[in-house]
Amino acid sequence: MQQEFPQGEIKEIMGRSFIIKGDDIDTDRIIPARFLKCVSFSALGEQVFADDRKELKGNHPFDLDQNKGANILVVNDNFGCGSSREHAPQALMRWGIRLIVGESFAEIFFGNCLAIGIPCMTSSKEEIHKLQNLVNQYPNQVWNFNLKELSISNQKESFRLNLEEGAFKMLYSGKWDATSQLLDEEERIKNTVNKLPYLNNFKQEV
């Protein structure tokens, strides 16, 4: 069953988890370029990690039966590096991912996830490895993510997570879809335009 896409305040996420192991997993791997030939994001969920999945012939984490319906992804270092394609987080989201926990994220990928309401939470290498081991050992366990407490827990263990303050506030308040907020500032935008030399024939800086 397709979950609803993220909306409004993102405070808690509950669900099963699985891992994608490896550092520097780039967005070309998350969604190969040939799938960018589209004018809508709607079909991307099927194509997430397409080439890696083909190579593993059904044994890729995104194909395993036990991971069907899971919504939390645990990754390693510099996840989402490379191309700025929002198709990558869109593909993950449309597959069903609602939360990503990892050692670190590439900057554009992090912002793209935030813009569609997917928190990218970080923790130390040691903690992530510990979490990944637990997830692998007990694939059926349900994890509870609590944004306010910056934690992800099962019945026994709890892991402390990090998120920069700006992203935290946007997710917590539900204002991660920035458009309306930006549009509120029409007057200030006009003022900015008026003071930029290159938009005023360089007149003001003589």
């Binding site: 700006g166 030399p197 290159y198």
Partner: protein, 469 residues
């Protein structure tokens, strides 16, 4: 005394408002769009019944999906045709200037915008493409954005962004003969790592950077993102002004004089405070080639493919993956590695001087038997100027194919793809698994001159040997 970086100054000019939580609403002075990352943004805009706020500050071209052998419409690939038609329709209905095929100004977005003079010092430049960092070569703050942000910029000409720290990368000395800007940036990424720049803007400075042409500077800034830095920039100087003079969209007359005054005032102050500084010497850098699956896995042409066990612990796993994927043996020299395909082009190295330098290697020689080699100029202007100089003839008579402008096999969204396990010598920017269109294709990144040398010998070659002959 003022102690600001160029980044600080340009940021302050464009700051609309501080947003709660430490990010800033930043005004975007130049918004570039193309067919891949814009259609969903326009759809979202239409759904929300929003207008494009400043249509004159957005400029469009088509590059990723265009075929490079036959550009007759409709394109052979119906999906590619649909993407271009959608962009045309969106530009038309929102009053956005579109540099399409046949306009004489179409090209890879990061090649065509600078050559039209659209990119200028002191601007903020955003585009739904990570290689937007290229435009920092002019002393602009330029960065890649996702499609949701493309929507925000269309709707408000601004976006929410967190201010980056600045790391100054000071490069002394000068590049030796046969060593190019590409080698320098591959070397820097190797030193600092593919995520070393996360959270930073890179300011490239120092004698070796000042000696670079604008095209060399664009190559450097283009690949800042491959080192994790969302933007890279270089302070504007006489080289910048000389390049911009008389360009189509450059200011003219009195405005030009005033512009130069403003641009000069933006240069990082001599007392500027950087969050981090590193220093290196360009003179010792040799032609550099990647052997692995990240742009940080580069070595000089004289080195051997590293033994993963001998690398720092955090690099071992990805090095093992790389050796296996690339089917290259540790401790073997990279020089002499056989290749199948040679690609000269892309937003990194598809400019006139790139083609010129490569043509010097090719002139009077022949592409080795069995090698498929092709040149894809970065733009229609590059193609035209190259033809005027006879560069196309040099490549053609050596056995290269000469194609129409586009992104081509840098990311293989058009028909130009590696097949199966083929290995390429490529002047592009990414050697990720599957990047060049075959799920198990392999990529060796290098300078265009090095690609030319590889084409002639059919294997990875130290270009300096061909320069001497």
């Amino acid at each position: 005394m003022s102690s600001e970086t160029l980044y600080d100054k340009v940021w302050n000019f464009h700051q609309v408002k501080e947003l709660p939580g430490g990010s800033t609403q930043l005004f975007v002075g130049l918004h570039l769009i193309h067919e891949v990352t814009s259609p969903q943004a326009f759809s979202a805009l239409n759904e929300k019944k929003l207008e494009v706020k400043y249509p004159n500050l957005t400029v469009a071209t088509v590059d990723h999906i265009v075929p490079t052998s036959n550009q007759q419409r409709p394109f052979g690939d119906p999906l590619a045709e649909e993407m271009l038609a959608t962009l045309e329709k969106n530009c038309k209905s929102h009053g956005i200037k579109f540099h399409g095929i046949g306009s004489n100004s179409q090209g890879v977005v990061h090649v065509m915008a600078p050559e039209l003079g659209l990119t200028q010092p002191g601007m903020t430049v955003a585009c739904g493409d990570s290689h937007t960092s290229t435009h920092g070569a002019f002393g602009a703050i330029a960065f890649g954005i996702g499609t949701s942000q493309v929507r925000d910029v269309l709707a408000s000409q601004s976006l929410a962004m967190k201010k980056l720290k600045v790391r100054r990368i000071w490069v002394d000395g000068s590049l030796q003969k046969g060593v190019y800007a590409k080698d320098l940036i591959l070397h820097i990424i190797r030193l600092l790592g593919v995520k070393g720049g996360v959270g930073f803007a890179y300011e490239f400075a120092g004698p070796a950077i000042e000696k670079l042409s604008m095209e060399g500077r664009m190559t450097i800034c283009n690949m800042a993102i491959e080192g994790g830095a969302r933007c890279g920039y270089i302070n504007p100087d006489e080289t910048t002004f000389e390049y911009l003079k008389e360009k189509e969209y450059s200011p003219k007359g009195q405005e030009w004089e005033n512009a130069i005054k403003w641009w000069k005032s933006l240069v990082s102050d001599s007392e500027a405070k950087f969050d981090d500084e590193i220093q290196l010497d360009a003179s010792s850098i040799e032609p550099t080639v990647t052997w692995g699956i990240t742009p940080g896995q580069g070595i000089s042409i004289k080195e051997k493919i590293p033994n993963p066990e001998m690398l720092p612990k955090n690099e071992q796993q990805i090095a093992k993956d790389a050796c296996k994927y690339m089917n290259l043996e540790p401790n073997e020299p990279i020089e002499g590695t056989s290749i199948d395909v040679c690609f000269i082009g892309s937003c990194t190295n598809g400019r006139l001087s790139d083609l010129q330098e490569a043509s010097k290697i090719v002139k009077g020689r022949r592409v080795a038997t069995g090698i498929r080699a092709f040149v894809v100029p970065g733009s229609q202007k590059v193609a035209k100027e190259a033809k005027q100089k006879g560069i196309d003839k040099i490549f053609l008579s050596a056995g290269f194919e000469w194609r129409e402008p586009g992104c081509s096999m840098c990311l293989a969204m058009n028909p130009d793809k590696l097949e199966g396990r083929q290995i390429s010598a490529s002047s592009s920017n990414r050697n990720f698994k599957g990047r060049q269109g075959s799920a198990n294709g392999r990529t060796l990144l290098m300078s265009p001159a090095m690609v030319a040398a590889a084409a002639i010998n059919g294997k990875v070659t130290d270009v300096r040997k061909l320069l001497q002959e």
